[in-house]
Amino acid sequence: MKLADFQSLFQESVLAGSGEADKPLLKKLRSSPRGATPETLLGVYQSGYRLRLADFVSQDHPGLRAVLGGEAFEALIDDYIDQRPSRDPNARFFTTGLPDFMRDCPTWRDDARAVSMALFERAMVDAFDAADETPLAVQALAEYSPNDWPRLAFDFDPSLTLLELAAGTIASYDAAISEEPPEKIDAPAASDDVEYVAVWRVDHESAYRQLEPDEYVALCEARAGHAFGDICQMTAFQQAGEIAPERLAQCLSSWFQDGMIIGVRVRGEDQSSKTPSSA
């Protein structure tokens, strides 16, 4: 048998797990001098494969396990391993596709809280090893005259992810990673309520903070490159009943304090800010 054919056969056997499909490969195995059956020895690779991948998912998704409960979580892992074999040589990225798999899969896509938790935990993992940048202190704004403020735009840390999640996701996550996590987190009553979250990295560790709806909109627009003055004009701020520039300045200050901002620039006269999408 050619090496390529042998490797296809071996891989099929590992992916399928022990069963009828093993027969052609078992004929190719030498007998063990220690009395182990060929099925047992092949099983080292078959079971090791699933255990290893399951461990990657478990490490990255303690909150998802808590939300689903152990049995359903293991069923999800089995589905994911069966349907989305790893294609990245770096094991770190095996779990990256899990939230998208859940959204595509009829078994899991209607569980909004589980999908939300998977999205949140993926953002936490992604933030952990995102590219390095140096955050700016709020004092960086002192370089700009008040006349420039409406045209200021900001660059954000590459670790930053903004999420709209099912309400209760963060409370469930906090409970799941607490020192004495419950066996299973009680799911809140199903609703269309949402919560907004920023995930980024601070001092080498992933961090997260819930956002008010207006801050979430402002942060989305600011990260899209829209200027301070344009964001002030947005409906979200007009409806908040506050003086828009002050509320936005408050948000901006917290983004600096949180270490989310890595650059400030003045949009040029010839480079007008695009119209904010939610204005």
Partner: protein, 281 residues
């Protein structure tokens, strides 16, 4: 045969020990990293590695080069590996006599091959291409295996010897892997060590494994067992002054226990050195 200078007694760098290493600067001569764990855009792993690299020599050990796979070499992977090597400046880069998947799939395991002329020609050609790409000699390790194949045309050590000579690569002799595979397949581990070209061996791996009675599995979650220590002595006698280290990847003990294992290694080597001095006198 020009070989890199021996580094002494090393340890596999694992995140669970970052704080202890940075706080205590332990008496370890060098660290080995799992390359893929640092093939990232940024963040804590690379920051910790930079700090540790400032004080210790480092070698890069990969698990995903898939040298024996019949898939095309993953050039994107090799580019990332090369970029990491430019940052780390490792003493050498290693991977395994193994494949990890075909048809674009990766099983995240070091999978066995039949030791045939075809497999040999295939891996030799790929090692040469990797060496050309990385512009350095690759160090290739014998893997633990749990199955062997009726199609094999030579022993594992014959395969490894010819591979190293034809590809002109260096070798990482995993003493625990020799023991595990010899147990599982019924060959003589001493004959294996005697059969590989000692002048190409630049590094030893030492680790623990799991004894399942009818077969042993390379789990790196136990201390090194007595049989493997005995085999280490033989490897040391045969290969001389070679960089050596402990791998631990699960069931992590207090850091001091790993330092004790390194000290045990030093004690064995000191005894062997004294024996050589006495017999030379």
């Amino acid at each position: 045969m020009e070989r890199p200078a021996p580094l002494g007694y090393g340890l596999g760098l694992r995140p669970v020990y970052y704080d202890e290493i940075l706080a205590s600067r332990p008496p370890i001569d060098w660290f080995e990293i799992i390359s893929e764990n640092y093939m990232l855009a940024g963040g804590k792993p690379l920051a910790m590695l930079d700090r540790i690299r400032a004080d210790y020599p480092v070698v890069m050990h990969g698990v995903s080069m898939s040298l024996a796979s019949t898939d095309p070499l993953n050039v994107d992977y090799l580019r990332q590996l090369k970029a990491l090597a430019e940052r780390v400046e490792p003493a050498w880069i290693s991977d395994h006599v193994a494949w990890t998947g075909v048809h674009g799939v990766t099983l995240h395991d070091l999978l066995p091959i039949p030791y045939t002329r075809e497999s040999l020609a295939h891996i030799v050609e790929r090692i040469q291409r990797v060496q050309d790409f990385l512009k350095r000699r690759l160090v290739v390790e014998n893997a633990s295996t749990y199955v062997s194949f009726v199609d094999s045309e030579m022993s594992e050590h014959e395969f490894v010897r010819e591979m190293a000579e034809r590809a002109d690569c260096l070798l990482l002799l995993d003493v625990n892997n020799v023991f595990v595979s010899s147990f599982n397949h019924g060959f003589d581990p001493v004959a294996f060590i005697d059969g590989v070209p000692a002048e190409r061996v630049v590094q030893f791996h030492m680790a623990g494994h799991t004894d399942n009675e009818t077969h042993r599995v390379d789990t790196h979650d136990q201390p090194v067992c007595d049989e493997v220590w005995a085999l280490y002595e033989h490897a040391r006698r045969r290969c001389g002054d070679v960089s050596t280290m402990i791998e631990r990847d699960d069931n992590y003990p207090p850091f001091l226990e790993l330092l004790d294992e390194l000290q045990h290694m030093r004690d064995i080597d000191a005894r062997l050195s004294n024996e050589r001095a006495r017999s030379a006198a």
